[in-house]
Amino acid sequence: MICRIGERVHRGRVVRTTTTVDQRALTRAVRAGEATDDGTTIAIQARTPGPVHERVGCLHHEMGLRTRTALAEAARSRGHTTALDSRIETLRERLAELTVETVETTDQRQAVAEASANTERLQEAVAETRGELKARREDGDAPETAEQFRDTARELSEAETAFVAARQNLERRRHAARQARNKLAQRMDIEDELANAEREARRRLVERTQTAFESAIESVPGGPESVGNPFEVDSLTAGLAVARLADLAAPVVLACDRFDSPTAASAFLGAPVIATEV
């Protein structure tokens, strides 16, 4: 690899950084080719990392690890496959093909509520004006009130028409939302099936590699005295064991004191290493 940190260039399978540089920035640079840490540009030319690098590409004392997932990825990196793979592939393709549009009905709901309130208000106004008109007519002619009554009645009629239109509009929109939700429900079914298939594939891969994983844990320097449940050892030990099992062509960023030298770490992991100060 060629690893450039600021002005300094390191070459070779094993690199020890001489300046203080953040391991997360180094890892980002391994994955993306370039990253910056506190104004320092890091550029790394090396093999492209695969999915297992996402799990164990950066090993340090505070790391977290979903051990089973990582172990399954390690098995994949070694070319292990399962009988579920073609099903998983098909489900992923179906998901990718399924596009669902968003259908909002908020504006339509609001329009209905407003039209309804408006109609109600005008109904009351018409009733009130009608009462007033009746009272005035008993006293004689009331042309102004009659005109006001006609105006209010006309407004009410318009409002009622608008209310019907708003309701129809909302109904159409709801229909579209229902169609979209049919597709969403379909998508969720596929996603559920995919998640189950992936879980089952993972389980099988873990089952197949568990013995090798236990041996790897035993060989990790500074690991536990005895391995009870291999999935309960500390994350760094588990991460080192998984990385040893995995086929890692891209550099592993290492910030731990388990090895005598970065070269020893690289030999243990069978991978290029960028070692930083702990």
Partner: protein, 112 residues
């Protein structure tokens, strides 16, 4: 009550979280749906879900179903008669023909 139905894994998870954290406003919880009680707080939770997940959250206002208000007598009687039929295997259509009971097609066409 408020019926909240979810249509994505993320929305379903949020609904489950809401139901777990606010049991007091949950009347009933199903796989991807929940009935919440008719309070402002439950509405707040439902709206929050919709705000977060958009189309993947459906909120409906439900009310108890009173057949004596909504359903014609003939339909109610048909249900009673059919459930006390002697032969379990008789489909409703055959059961109704020759009796004074509503036709299933006609019922399908008739909205409540």
């Amino acid at each position: 009550m408020l019926l909240v139905i979810t249509y994505s894994r993320a929305a379903r998870q949020t609904l489950r979280n809401v139901c777990r954290s606010h049991e007091d406003c949950v009347v009933r919880q199903f796989g991807q749906a929940a009935l919440l009680d008719a309070t402002e707080f439950a509405a707040f939770q439902a709206l929050r879900l919709r705000e977060k997940h958009g189309t993947a959250v459906q909120v409906e206002w439900t009310e108890p179903f009173n057949e004596f208000e909504r359903v014609p007598e003939g339909v109610r009687e048909a249900a009673t008669a059919y459930e006390s039929r002697e032969q379990a295997a008789t489909p409703y259509e055959r059961f109704a023909s020759g009796r004074d009971l509503p036709d299933p097609e006609a019922m399908r066409e008739q909205e409540l």
